[in-house]
Structure formats: C-alpha cells, structure tokens
C-alpha cells in the first residue's frame, strides 16, 4: 500500500471536511456553553426535596374519654357576660381543685363559681364541691360541708394544710377578697378568713402555698391582677376603625402588687408583701412554687399578663430575691415580655432539674425555660417543638402530665380568648396535648391532638385545668373549668393496649409539715425519673398533690429517693411495688401502701 498512489480527489476532500468539522465542534461547544451559562440561576435543585411537616402521629385508641355527662357534675363557671358591661373582670374565668377533703382516698372536686352583675353591683355565683363517690360518680356536697356561703366573684382555688392538722384546707381567690376555709375533720369547712388575717381587698387570681422559711408551715403567695373597678371602667374597642366595644386590655389599668402572707404557725397569717419587697409591676395570673435550684427550698415563679414574669428565690433568713431577668425566665427570646397566664414545672428533659413552662397570649410563643442549673435557664420553645404550634391560642390552664406513663412528662393546655370579638383567633379554642418524644438527641413536644380523643377537637372557653388520678388507677385524669360552658371530666384511658406500668407516691412531712420544694428521684431500668412537689401551678387551679411515676416498660422499680424540703436528709425507699400508691412519711423508713 502506498500513499502516493491514492487518488487526488480523495486526498483533497480532507481540508474542507476538517474546516466544517472544526466549525461544527466549535459550534456545538459554543451552544453547550451558552446553554450552560443561561441555565436559569433560579432553577429548582434536582432532585427537589420538599419540606417535611413532621412525623405522623401513630394511630391508636384515644387517650381521654369525656366522662362528664353521667358523672353527676353539672357545673358552669359564669362570668356575667350577659350584662354587657365588657368588664375585664369577665376575662379571667375560674378554676378547679382536686382535694380529698374527707380522706376517703378519692379526689373530690371543687369549682369556683365566678359571678354576675346587678347593675354596677358585682355578685358572686356559688362555688361547688363534688364528692367523689367512686366509679366516676360525684355528688354535690357544697351545702352540707358549708361551702355554700361564698358570695364574692370567685376565680381561683388553692389546696393546703395550712394548720398542719393532716386535712387539706381550701383558699378561694377572687374580686375584692379571698376566703380561707379550714377543713374540720373532713366533714365541714369553716370560713377562717378574718381570723387568719387574710384581709385582702385586692383582685386576686391564682395562689399557691409553700413553706418559704423552713418553719414547716406553708406561706401564701397571691397573684393580684389590675386596678379595675366600675369607677375605673373605660370603654374599650377591638382593633380596626369600626371595631365594636370589647373587653379592655390589662394595659389600660395599673397592675396590683401581689401579696405574700407569712404563716404565723398559730392559724394566722401576716402580710409581708412590703417587707419582702415584692415587685409591683406584674398583672399576676399564674404562680408555681417548687425547688428550682436544688437547694431544697421552694422558689416562686409568677406568670404576669403584659409584664415580665417574676422569679423569686429564697435566700438566707427567708429573704426573697427576684431575678427573673438575670435567670433568663422573664420573657421571650426577643427580650420582650409576654401575656402569661398558666404555668407549670417539670423535669421534661431528664436533667433532674425543674424546667418552667408558661402559657402565653395570642400571637406569642409559649415559653419553655430549660433549667441549666446554677439559677440559669435557656429559652427552648422552638428547639423543643413548641414553635410548630399555631399562635392563635390564648392559653390558660396547663400542666405537665405523663399521659401514657412512659416516664416522660407531656403537656396539656386549654385555651379561649379574653375578647368577645377577637380578630384572627376564635373566642372558643381547641385544647392542645403535646407528647414528649425523643427527636434528634433531645426531648421534643409534638402535637398529639389526634390521639387525645374528641375533647381535643372541640373549641371552648378553657380556663382552669387540674390533673390528677380521680379513679386511682395510676393514669392521670384531667378536669377543665370552662367559662360559661360546662366543666369537663376526662378519664385517662391510655392504658388500653399500653403495657406501661406506674408507681404512685404521697409524701407526708414530719408532723404534717409542708413539703412543697421536695424532690423525688426514682431509678428504673432505663434511667432516673425526677418529680417535684409543687405549690400552685396551672391556672386558678389545684392538681393532685400525689406524685405519679410512669415506668414505661421498665421491668424493675429501683430505689426511690426523697430529698425533703428544708432538710439535709435524703430518704431512700427500696422494693416499692409498681401499680400502687405508697405513702412515704418523713423520717419513717417503711413505706405504707395507700388504699
């Protein structure tokens, strides 16, 4: 084969083709570059990953069943709205207390009545005490125990054994006065308000008791609201130019200084508000007392409407120090105050410390202050999942509650607007239940309304809420006090198909001394559970003072330790059997099974 022998025509074909080929390559390259550079900078990434809207809530039987209708409880807290005064007094609502007044081992229920208006006169509506007959049956015993004489406009209720006779007494708050009722042998309540020196003339909402000096006797903290009266009753309107008349906001009034009463240990109290320099800038609505710092002394956390919340710690000599701002529990992450109502504390994250949950107003985030120790807290609402909730809620009653006894405290809230014609949020609002679940290595609250039962889809004017075991089955039940609509009893039926076990504890201080501020820890197969004895909590209400430990599927109940308030001693109890309530007496080594 020889190149020189190739035909001339074939030889000369190469150059033109080379030129055309080169141009073609250049052309294609240029087109490719053009296409690449002009590819829209705003094109969607491929593949596009849509945002997640959260894990699905697993199906299962509802946790709560409404047991109100056949229970014998027919109670409506009335606020006097029908008079058309648009008084801010109407906005607070009422509370409920769980109190075993007769010592039969079953929690009875006390509701505050509210009130009505007769022209400019404010009239109280009857409060009610219902005796728990067992099997979800209740009987109205108000008159027979002497609680039918409460004639002032009432809001809140607190339960305490103020005289250490071993019987729970009752404090009722409201407009213009409070009333203290001594439990007389579990048969009658005697009004001892005047005798006890509780001469409050203010407008009080929530109240809580705790021994703030180590005397063994419980002192009393009362939240007061604002200086409204018919002499200071402006006409207020809602939003917008054509807005109709509505309830005034608290900012229209001056906040009332709260009250602190020292227990004189003789059945009387002494007002130490000025002496203790309580702050005078809070429209108080909620209070909870517990050991926030591990010093075995109860502190006081106060939820204020339209003002920074207050946080008092007990220093030596019983002196109170307010340090909400410096502890990081005064307001939200933007450094603003919220409209705060309900409040509770719990070890929600397994840290062993008492974190604080605060229910807030519409357009605000509820606040979860994670306790970091050393009197410091971190605002963790978003990290803990509360940021996913709608901001339409005006939430009042709230409580930590281990609904499914898995050992982690969940959250329950009831809401309802304070305005009659609110914008952007309904007057009646649905309750919320959030389950405490693990998520990305931390504890997280997820909306579990789907599992709550029908109650959680029915809007109402929720206010007071109390949590406790009404049928002693070890599963915490719930009672809600609505405004102008029936109170609701919810039976916890989360035990269905749920193998979780539980352990119940009732603490009794030496000679019936007050034990708020005590801390209990229980070792289980899966870790340590920490619970706190509390004064106050939720909103206008008093929950079961016994402690429930949800054990989940833990096979073994380990050592239960009690750090008693105002005491250096730590008492240990071993071999407590699950599925029972146990009475633990301070200084007595043996636990006694409760009926």
């Amino acid at each position: 084969m020889s190149v020189g022998n190739q035909p001339a025509s074939q030889h000369s074909l190469g150059w033109p083709l080379l030129v055309v080929g080169t141009l073609l390559v250049l052309g294609l390259g240029a087109v490719a570059y053009w296409a690449a550079t002009r590819r829209s900078g705003d094109a969607a990434p491929d593949p596009f990953d849509p945002l997640s809207t959260g894990q699905q809530v697993p199906d299962g039987p509802p946790w709560f069943r409404d047991k109100t209708s056949a229970s014998g409880i027919e109670f409506i807290h009335v606020n006097g709205q029908e008079a058309g005064h648009y008084a801010i007094l109407e906005s607070l609502g009422g509370g409920v207390a769980m109190i075993d007044y007769d010592g039969d081992g079953l929690l009875d229920l006390f509701f505050t009545g509210g009130g009505t208006f007769d022209g400019p006169n404010i009239r109280g509506r009857p409060c009610k005490l219902y005796k728990n007959l067992g099997n979800w049956q209740f009987r109205d015993v108000t008159a027979e125990v002497g609680l039918d004489k409460i004639d002032f406009y009432s809001h809140g209720v607190a339960v305490v054994d103020y005289d250490r006779d071993g019987r729970p007494d009752l404090l009722v708050t409201g407009y213009g006065q409070v009333a203290l009722f001594r439990n007389d042998a579990g048969k009658r309540f005697i009004d001892v308000t005047t005798k006890a020196g509780l001469l409050e003339k203010s407008w009080s909402s929530s109240a809580g008791f705790a021994d703030l000096t180590g005397s063994g006797f419980p002192d009393l903290y009362i939240c007061n609201y604002v200086d409204w009266s018919f002499k200071n009753h402006p006409v207020c309107r809602g939003k917008g130019p054509q807005a109709e008349r509505d309830i005034c906001s608290p900012q229209q009034f001056k906040p009332l200084i709260h009250a602190l009463y020292r227990n004189n240990r003789d059945g009387t109290f002494r007002d130490v508000t000025r002496e203790q320099k309580l702050r005078d800038d809070g429209c108080g609505l909620g209070v909870v007392m517990a050991d926030f710092t591990g010093d075995r002394r109860p502190g006081i956390y106060v939820a204020n409407d339209a003002a920074f919340n207050h946080f008092y710690l007990v220093r030596s000599g019983g002196k109170l120090e307010e340090k909400a701002l410096l502890a990081g529990v005064a307001g939200d992450e933007t450094g603003h105050y919220n409209g705060s109502m309900g409040v509770d504390v719990a070890d929600y994250d397994g840290s062993g410390r008492a974190s604080i949950f605060v229910a807030n107003f519409q357009d605000e985030l509820h606040a979860l202050y994670r306790n970091l120790g050393q009197e410091h807290f971190a605002y963790q609402s978003k990290t803990a999942g509360l940021g996913a909730l709608s901001r339409q809620f005006v939430t009042f009653g709230t409580s930590f509650i281990d609904v499914d006894n898995d050992g982690w405290e969940d959250l329950i809230m009831v809401s309802g607007h304070v305005l009659y014609k609110p914008v952007g949020s309904p007057v009646k609002q649905v309750p919320v239940i959030m389950r405490n679940i693990p998520f990305q290595g931390r504890r997280f609250f997820r909306d579990y309304a789907k599992r709550g039962g029908p109650f959680f889809s029915i809007p109402d004017m929720g206010r007071g809420l109390a949590v406790g075991d009404l049928d002693n089955d070890g599963w915490p039940d719930v009672v809600v006090c609505n405004t102008n609509s029936p109170a609701i009893l919810l039976r916890n039926e989360a035990a269905q198909g749920n193998p979780a076990r539980w352990l119940g504890v009732k603490l009794v201080g030496k000679e019936n001394r007050d034990v708020v501020g005590s801390t209990l820890t229980l070792k289980t197969d899966t870790g340590t559970l920490t619970r706190f004895t509390k004064g106050g909590g939720s909103y206008l209400s008093a929950s079961d003072q016994r402690i429930l430990f949800g054990l989940g599927t833990s096979a073994k109940v380990g050592r239960l330790s009690v750090k008693w308030s105002w005491s250096d001693t730590e008492q240990h109890f071993d071999n407590l059997e699950a599925g029972s309530y146990w009475e633990l007496r301070e200084g007595e080594p043996a636990a006694k099974r409760s009926p």
């Binding site: 025509s9 000369s12 074909l13 033109p16 030129v19 055309v20 141009l23 073609l24 250049l26 052309g27 240029a30 087109v31 570059y33 053009w34 550079t37 900078g41 705003d42 094109a43 969607a44 990434p45 596009f48 849509p50 945002l51 997640s52 809207t53 959260g54 939003k239 917008g240 701002l325 410096l326 502890a327 990081g328 992450e333 933007t334 450094g335 603003h336 357009d363 970091l372 050393q374 009197e375 410091h376 807290f377 971190a378 605002y379 963790q380 978003k382 990290t383 803990a384 999942g385 940021g387 996913a388 709608s390 901001r391 339409q392 914008v423 952007g424 949020s425 998520f439 990305q440 997280f444």
Partner: protein, 356 residues
C-alpha cells in the same frame, strides 16, 4: 454520488460553513455582551420593575463591575439598595455616581427619599403632595415606596393607610395590586393584627401566584403565627428562587421554628457566606446566633453576636440576644445586665420618639 469537486457539494459545504460562522458569531456576540454585563443591565432593570430587588441587585452588581462609571446604572443600583433597605450601600452608589459626574438633582432626590425611608418624616408632606399630583409619573413608585418604608419604621399608620389607598387606586396591574395588598398586610402586622395581615398576603398570592414577593411575605407571616402552613409556599419559593438569600433565611427560620436548628444552621451559614457585610445581614446573623444558642453553643453564638454588634451596635435584637446569651453563663451576669440596661434605653427612646 456527489463528490467534493462537484459544484453542488462545494456550495453545500460553503453554506454549512457560513451558517456555522453565523451561529458562532452570534454566540460570541452574546457572550461578549454577557461578560461585559450589558445583558445584566437589562435584566436588572426588568427585575427592579417587578419589585424583585434581590435579583435586580445581583444583575446590576455584575453590570457595574464592567461599567463602574455608568451613573444611570449607579442611580438604579442605589434605588435598588434602598428598596432592599440597605441605605449604606445606596449611599455608596450615590457617592460613586457623583464622582463619575451624574445628574446631581437626581441624586439629591434619591437622598431625600432615603432620609424619609430611614424614618425622618419631616419632609413627608411635600412628598405626599408630589405623589398625589403625579400619581402616574415615573417617580411616583420611587417616592411612595420610600414613604411607606419610613412610615412602617416609625409606625405612622395614618401615612401608611394613605399611601396604600393611593397605591391601590393607581396601580392596577396584577403584581401591582398584589404589592398593594402586601403593603397593607405589612401595616397590619405591627398593629398586632396578624390574621388580617395574613389574609392580605394570602390574597396577594391568589392574585399573583407567580409573584415571589407575595409568597415571601406570606411565608414570613406564617412563620410567625402559623408555621405549619408555611411549607407549600416555602417550597414554591425554594423551587423558583433557590439562590435567593431571603428564601434561604426563611427556610432556616422554618426549620428552627419546628425544632430543627441543625438544618437551619447549615442553610444560614450558606446564605451568610455569600452575603457582603451590611445592615441587611444583621437579622440573619442574629438568627444564626439564636440557633447556636438553641444548640447550647454559646461561644459560637457570641462570635455571631459580636459580628452583628459591629454592624449595628444599637439594634435592639442584637442587644436582647446578647443579654439572653450572657444570662446563661453564670460568670457573665454583669455584662448581661449592661445589655439589659441598653435594651431599656432603646425601648425608652422608642417610646419617646413615638410620643413625639
């Protein structure tokens, strides 16, 4: 069979070569045009007209990198920066435009509008008259937007109401109407009227579903009040504007809202890395600091906050977040107290200015 020596074959090859030369020439011209930024000027202008200032800014920056002395483009860039509320950057463009000899009167007008936008409403009546007298003139939009921003800043709702009404009356295009609803919604937000604001933003999205501004404002509001409703609108923005820093910021805020600070941190880091220093960066830096605090990384949070503080020492949120960061550190309470005091001073100043 045709051979190369055949005339038709040569003709065909010549035609192919000519066509290819033409294509290549066009492409080269396009590329030169592109690289020299001419196309960016047009695109910047188009984006500006439809209130897409983020995109406009990107294109104008590109154009100005090739034509730094184009005073008309500088003026447009200044207006764009102002509408992005980056008044420092706007002033930088104006100074450069002056240096290169543009029309001084136009720059003076732009400065007056920037003053109003910054919240100094002393000259507002003159500009209101101007808007009422020339509602269809080219300067109307420029002026009324400055008036609106200044009124939002000072919470002068009377002026906002007037401006929105005038806008809705005069601007009847779909996007313009949507923009009007956004203005009204924005006015309703600080008046604690979140639901009506969201209703305005929702209507704006219905009216102009392809207008990113409506989605952006709706998502911003939803993240504050109804975060669970944000994903579909946020996904739309992520699909259509994946490089938009504001969209990344909103996505980060969504993740943080629903308890996913780790994801939020990644997104914000990306957005912040691509962003020049300026006041517009401050809200993102603060959010980033909060995320670090969510994750208990307080030193990291402080680094971000120091950066924010260097840009805006009197920004309320910078001081509030610093205080929140420091109160978590037992040894830093005195510093925390100073920041809390600063917040009180800022709040008092705000109340005073409100009274005036």
């Amino acid at each position: 069979m045709l051979k190369l020596r055949d005339k038709p074959m040569r003709l065909l090859l010549a035609l192919v070569a000519a066509a290819l030369f033409l294509v290549i020439g066009m492409l080269v011209y396009e590329l030169v045009l592109d690289e020299s930024g001419l196309r960016h000027y047009d695109l910047g202008g188009q984006a500006f007209e439809i209130y897409d200032y983020e995109t406009a800014s990107r294109h104008l920056d590109k154009y100005l990198s090739f034509h730094p002395q184009d005073t008309a483009a500088r003026l447009l860039a200044a207006q764009t920066s102002r509408r992005l509320d980056d008044l420092e950057e706007a002033e930088r463009h104006l100074k450069l435009a002056e240096k290169y000899g543009g029309a001084a009167r136009e720059f003076e007008t732009e400065r007056q509008l920037a003053t109003i936008q910054a919240g100094d409403l002393r000259d507002i009546d003159r500009w209101r008259r101007f808007c009422e007298e020339q509602p269809d003139g080219p300067a109307f939009v420029n002026a009324i937007l400055a008036i609106l921003e200044g009124s939002y800043r000072t919470r002068n709702l009377v002026v906002v109401e007037w401006a929105v009404e005038l806008w809705l009356k005069r601007r009847t295009g779909k996007i313009d109407r949507a923009q009007g609803l956004i203005f009204r919604g924005r006015a309703r937000l600080p008046a604690e009227d979140s639901s009506q604001a969201m209703e305005d933003f929702r209507r704006a999205v219905e009216l102009a579903p392809d207008y990113h501004g409506a989605r952006t404002w709706l998502v911003s509001a939803l993240l504050l009040y109804e975060p669970k409703e944000a994903p579909p609108h946020l996904d739309w923005l992520r699909r259509h504007r994946p490089k938009d820093r504001l969209v990344k910021f909103l996505t980060a805020r969504y993740h943080r809202s629903v308890g996913e600070p780790e994801l939020a941190a990644i997104l914000l880091d990306e957005a912040l890395a691509a962003m020049p220093d300026g006041l517009n960066k401050v809200p993102m830096i603060i959010e980033r600091a909060k995320i670090a605090m969510d994750l208990d990384r307080l030193q990291e949070a402080e680094r971000w906050l120091n950066e924010a503080k260097s840009l805006a020492p009197s920004h309320r949120d910078v001081n509030a977040t610093f205080a929140a960061c420091l109160v978590r550190q037992p040894s830093r309470l005195e510093e925390a107290r100073r920041y809390q005091e600063k917040i009180r001073e800022l709040d008092a100043a705000m109340v005073d200015s409100g009274h005036k």
